[in-house]
Structure formats: structure tokens, C-alpha cells
């Protein structure tokens, strides 16, 4: 792929605006609250789009398009089952505790509700995780730009790191949020023409369905396996994902999705920056509306790519094969951009792709500097310093966090397995977390010892499950089965979903048992932290379209309609 001057100019304009936002916000960063929480002053539509965009890293854009090609429209379960219900839940039920308790981070909520050790466990594992995720994001971008445009890996990594560093250093969370909103529009407006052109080339939705029928029958599935989201979910053998509906709904829809959207500080931090309780509650609900349509933007290109690749006689577009003969699904978006976009629009498309990498990094970095400064530095290293000092520490943590991410990106170039191992460990850490929050927020009897031991045993359950199962066709190692495979799943996805179910259930049960055996906290200490001991936020003064419960119901109905249309 070769770039013309116009493409370079467009990229340059984008970087000027990104940095410009940082410089313009610099003078507003006076206290640590401004820097880490945007002074809790941002309107709901902005925090809502940032909530969505912080999650819209490149792994999502590249990965969801790849899954669209590999599994077809069933990938939309990651949105319609695996995101929207959890987003509604966090907005309607959980935000009152996050925002109302005035906790400055998710680990800090755990400290208020439970105790120091539960916070420490969560803060340290979360901080490590964000740094490595940001490093992986950088690595993926460097690798992509190298294969696509022949750019030097070092150059791509360093330039993106420096740009993200400058705008967060100057403008803190506000800068990250504003840039995320800018990136949101860029990604949507940059990829829409791609979907349009690809769909036109494939003969519209009807033509695409026919072509996907060929793909499905060639893989030995029913004709609609790539173009129906639910019809083939009855058993794991009848769909390309290799998952049956129960494992999918419970593992993905309940444990993994609620664990991510309801407890991950990366997204929750955006809602905490909102200017009022009702704005904080509306943040995930506003995010849910574009989220439910994202499958059309990121999954559809994958489906188009696979359909054109399998088209008899060739269509001029085909996915390349990897050395082992399987298709390289990760190249869907970059290759389609190069195939359909002429110079000019190509610049916009590539800029959108880069924006998605950078928003993924920036989201991790802002979450890291907050958790580091408030939950680790202020709690364990230097308590009681001036606010100025913590503001300075936040800026230092930004520099430090990005430096370590860059190092992690280089580690990934040498030892790909180390990254796989780390992601696995994060999966162990995250899977049980939602049980802790659910019990913490809705059961006043849950105790600190219960939460801590529940979390530990949940992680252990995840590790044991992983050690004793294998996905089909894999050898023991990073993929699991290091203690011998007692059970073989049809796919890695099925293994993941069931690991989450085991971890969650273990954490849930152990937390309850230990809590019942330990001394509960005084009820008056828990006001504002637990559902039954907290006054409901009043909604009477709000118009109907501002009320979280009504908005949540509308969002769920729309999602239900999408599921039925693409059943």
C-alpha cells in the first residue's frame, strides 16, 4: 500500500488536533481531581462516547473484524449479549454506588466497602494489567504499520507513545476523554464508507447472505451459519464458534461481560468524570446506543471479506494465507482499506485505524496513573502529602506508565508467549471479580475477609480449570492442559467462557461462606455503599428521556429487536 501526499497531510492534521486539545486543556489542570477525574464536570454525552471509545481499542476493531470473518454474524453476541445488558446494569444499578460513594477509583470503592487487602489485590493486579494492555496495543500497531506501509517498528511505537504521553501529561483525563470523543467520530466516519463499498461489491445484504451460504457449506455447517446469530447456537457442533447457547449466555453474557463493563476502572473512570449523578448513570446508557450498532461497522467488513475470498471465480479481493495455510483474518480491515479506498479517503481510514490504537493506549494510561497515584502511592508509599504533590505524581506516573508500556511492546516482539501468558493471568484475575462486586453492592452481610478469600479462590479455580482442559486441536501449554486434559472443548472460546463460569461460581460461593463465618461490619458504616442501605437517587426532577431506568429499558428493547432481526 502506498500513500500519497494527501494521505500524509490528513494524518498530520489529525495529530495537530490531538496535541492541540492537550495544550488547550493544560491551563485547566489545577488540582489532582482535575487531572484524574476531570473535576467531575463533563456532560453525559461526552463521557458516554468516551466510555465507548476507551474500549474501542485497535484490538477491538481488528479483532472483531477478524471474528466476523471467522465466525460470521454470531460475533455480534459480543455486543448484543456480551456488552449491552451489562452496560445497562452498571448505569441503572451500580453507578449510584460508584459515583455516590465519592470513591475516586474502583479499587477505592473496594476499600470503602470491604477492606485494605481487597483494594490492594485489585489495585496492583489492575495497574499491572493496564500497562501490559497498553504495551500490547503499541506492539500490534507497530507490527501492523510495518507490514502494511513498511514503516519502521521503532518509529511507529515511539511516535505513538510520545503523542499519547504529551496529550495526557498536559490535559490528564479530560484530554484523554476529549480525544476519545474525537476518535469515536473519526472511527465511525472513517469506516462507514468501507462498509458501504464492501456491501455494494458483495451485492447488498441479500447478495452477501448468498455468498456466506457458500462459505458455511464449504466449512460443513448449515447455510445460515455465517449470517444467523442465534439459529445455529443450539449445540456447539453446529456453529463455527464451537459454543452452545448456555455457555455463551452465562460465560460471555453474564460473567465476562458484567465483569468487564461493571468493574473495569478503564471504562468506569469515564462515568466517574460526569458532572452529576444522573449524568454518571446515563453515561453507559448513552454509550450503549452506538455500541449496539457497532457490529455493522466492525463485524460486517469481516463477513464481507470472507464472502469475497470464497467467491467462485474470484472477486479481486481475497484474504492472504498465513504460512501454515490458514487465512490471516487479522488483515481484514487494513486490506479492505487498501482495496477500496483511493488516496485521500485512504488517509482518513488509516488515521481512524491509528486513532483506535491510540485511544486504546490512552484509556489504559489514564486508568493506570489514577490507580497508581490514589490506590498505591497515596495509600502505601506516601500518604498525607499535598494535592500538588499528587498532581505531580500523576504526571510522573503517566511518563513512567508509558515508558513501561513501550518496554512491554518490545518484550512482546521477542517473546510472543510471554504476552499470551500474561493475558491468561489477567483472565484468571478478572473472571471472579464480578461476584465480589455483586455481593458487595447487594448483600450487606458480605465481609472483607469473604471478598478477599473469594477472589483468591476464584482465581485459583480459573487456573485449575485452565490446567485441566484443552481446546480441540491444541497441545498442552499456554492453551491449557498443563495438568493433563480432563475435558476437551470444541474451541478456545468455549474453554474461556466455561473458565469464567467456574471462577465466578467459586468466588460467589466462597465469599458467601466466609462472610457468614466472619463478623459483619456495622450497618451505619455501609450507608451509600450497599443497595439496601442507600437512598435511591430521585429522578422526579428529570424529564423522561433523562431517567436511567427508562433509557435502560429502551436500550434493551432496541437490542432485543436487533437480535430478532438477525436471528
Amino acid at each position: 500500500m502506498t500513500l500519497s501526499a494527501i494521505d500524509w497531510i490528513i494524518m498530520l492534521v489529525y495529530f495537530v488536533f490531538v496535541l492541540g486539545i492537550g495544550f488547550m486543556l493544560r491551563r485547566y489542570m489545577k488540582t489532582s481531581t482535575d487531572f484524574f477525574l476531570s473535576g467531575r464536570s463533563i456532560p453525559a454525552w461526552i463521557t458516554g462516547l468516551a466510555f465507548l471509545s476507551a474500549n474501542l481499542g485497535a484490538q477491538e476493531v481488528i479483532g472483531m473484524a477478524a471474528s466476523g470473518a471467522k465466525y460470521g454474524i454470531a460475533t455480534s453476541h459480543f455486543y448484543w449479549v456480551g456488552a449491552i445488558p451489562a452496560m445497562v446494569f452498571v448505569g441503572v444499578f451500580m453507578m449510584p454506588f460508584y459515583y455516590g460513594s465519592r470513591a475516586r477509583s474502583v479499587p477505592e470503592y473496594l476499600k470503602l466497602r470491604f477492606d485494605e487487602k481487597t483494594r490492594g489485590l485489585n489495585a496492583i493486579s489492575f495497574a499491572t494489567m493496564t500497562i501490559f494492555s497498553s504495551g500490547i496495543s503499541m506492539y500490534a500497531m507497530g507490527l501492523l504499520l510495518q507490514t502494511l506501509l513498511g514503516w519502521d517498528f521503532n518509529f511507529s511505537v515511539l511516535v505513538s507513545a510520545v503523542i499519547v504521553l504529551i496529550y495526557i501529561f498536559l490535559g490528564g483525563l479530560t484530554s484523554a476523554i476529549y480525544n476519545e470523543v474525537l476518535q469515536f467520530f473519526l472511527i465511525v466516519l472513517g469506516f462507514l464508507p468501507l462498509v458501504f463499498l464492501g456491501l455494494k461489491d458483495a451485492g447488498g445484504w441479500a447478495g452477501l447472505q448468498t455468498r456466506l451460504g457458500v462459505v458455511a457449506t464449504q466449512h460443513g455447517f448449515g447455510t445460515g451459519a455465517w449470517s444467523n446469530s442465534w439459529k445455529y447456537m443450539g449445540s456447539a457442533a453446529s456453529n463455527p464458534m464451537g459454543v452452545e447457547w448456555f455457555g455463551m449466555v452465562m460465560g460471555l453474557g453474564f460473567v465476562l461481560s458484567f465483569g468487564y463493563w461493571c468493574t473495569d476502572f478503564l471504562v468506569v473512570q469515564r462515568a466517574m468524570a460526569a458532572n452529576s449523578m444522573s449524568a454518571a448513570r446515563r453515561t453507559p446508557l448513552i454509550a450503549a446506543v452506538p455500541k449496539m450498532f457497532f457490529p455493522f461497522l466492525v463485524i460486517l467488513p469481516g463477513m464481507i471479506a470472507i464472502a469475497l475470498t470464497y467467491q467462485a471465480g474470484g472477486s479481486g479481493f481475497a484474504l492472504p494465507a498465513k504460512p501454515d495455510g490458514s487465512l490471516n483474518y487479522d488483515m481484514v480491515i487494513p486490506l479492505m482499506l487498501g482495496h477500496y479506498f483511493p488516496s485521500g479517503l485512504l488517509g482518513v481510514g488509516l488515521t481512524a485505524l491509528m486513532a483506535s490504537f491510540m485511544s486504546g493506549m490512552a484509556g489504559n494510561v489514564t486508568a493506570f496513573n489514577t490507580v497508581w497515584t490514589y490506590d498505591i502511592y497515596q495509600s502505601y508509599i506516601k500518604p498525607g502529602a499535598s494535592d500538588r504533590h499528587y498532581l505531580m505524581m500523576g504526571r510522573m506516573a503517566t511518563v513512567f506508565g508509558i515508558a513501561v508500556s513501550v518496554a512491554a511492546a518490545y518484550v512482546a516482539t521477542r517473546f510472543n508467549n510471554i504476552m499470551d501468558m500474561l493475558q491468561l493471568v489477567f483472565a484468571f484475575v478478572n473472571a471472579p471479580l464480578f461476584a465480589t462486586f455483586l455481593l458487595g453492592m447487594f448483600w450487606k452481610r458480605a465481609t472483607g475477609h469473604g471478598a478477599f478469600l473469594g477472589l483468591l479462590s476464584g482465581m485459583l479455580a480459573a487456573a485449575i480449570h485452565h490446567a485441566t482442559t484443552l481446546p480441540a486441536g491444541a497441545v498442552a501449554g499456554v492453551k491449557g492442559g498443563w495438568f493433563g486434559a480432563l475435558h476437551t472443548y470444541r474451541s478456545e472460546m468455549a474453554q474461556n467462557f466455561w473458565m469464567a463460569i467456574f471462577a465466578w461460581t467459586t468466588c460467589f460461593v466462597v465469599t458467601i461462606l466466609v462472610s457468614l463465618a466472619t463478623r459483619p461490619r456495622e450497618e451505619k458504616e455501609l450507608a451509600g455503599l450497599v443497595y439496601s442501605l442507600t437512598e435511591r437517587p430521585t429522578e422526579e426532577h428529570l424529564s423522561w428521556y433523562q431517567r436511567p431506568a427508562i433509557l435502560g429499558a429502551i436500550v434493551l428493547l432496541m437490542t432485543l429487536a436487533l437480535n430478532i432481526i438477525f436471528w
Binding site: V13, F17, I21, R27, L182, L189, F341, P342, S343, L345
Partner: protein, 79 residues
């Protein structure tokens, strides 16, 4: 907080739109074979331009509304 986000968004897409429209008008038509014969630079550039201008107008309208509020507030205080 201080800066209205619609200003930079509007400005950036206005610039993108203008660049694409101009490039679409002067570029060699043969490059549009890959986009199925459509001059997507011209057409999508126009769409981006409209989006950018609308964002700028919204930002301007709310800025002038805020100013009107303020001056009304001031005159009330004057009485």
C-alpha cells in the same frame, strides 16, 4: 470544562472535508476504479464537511446562549 469539545471536532472534520472535496475535484479519475467507480473523495468529503460545519454551528450557538445568559444575569444584578 472550559473548552467546548465540539469546536476541535468541528474544525478537524471541516478541514478533512475541504481537503477531500478539493482533492476529489482535481485528482485523476482513474484512481476511483477501486472504489467501484464512485468519486468517494468528493462525495464523502462533502459529508464530512457538512458534519464539521454542523458541529461548529452547535458549539457557536451554545457559546452565544451562554453569553446571553451571563449578560442577562449581569443586568439583573445591576438593578
Amino acid at each position: 470544562m472550559g473548552l467546548d469539545i465540539r469546536l476541535p471536532i468541528g474544525a478537524m472534520f471541516t478541514v478533512f472535508g475541504l481537503l477531500l472535496v478539493i482533492y476529489g475535484a482535481v485528482s485523476d479519475k482513474s484512481i476511483y476504479q477501486r472504489s467501484l467507480g464512485m468519486n468517494v473523495n468528493l462525495e464523502w468529503g462533502a459529508a464530512l464537511l457538512i458534519f464539521g460545519v454542523v458541529m461548529l454551528l452547535l458549539a457557536r450557538r451554545s457559546a452565544s446562549a451562554a453569553k446571553a445568559d451571563e449578560s442577562e444575569h449581569d443586568s439583573n444584578r445591576g438593578h
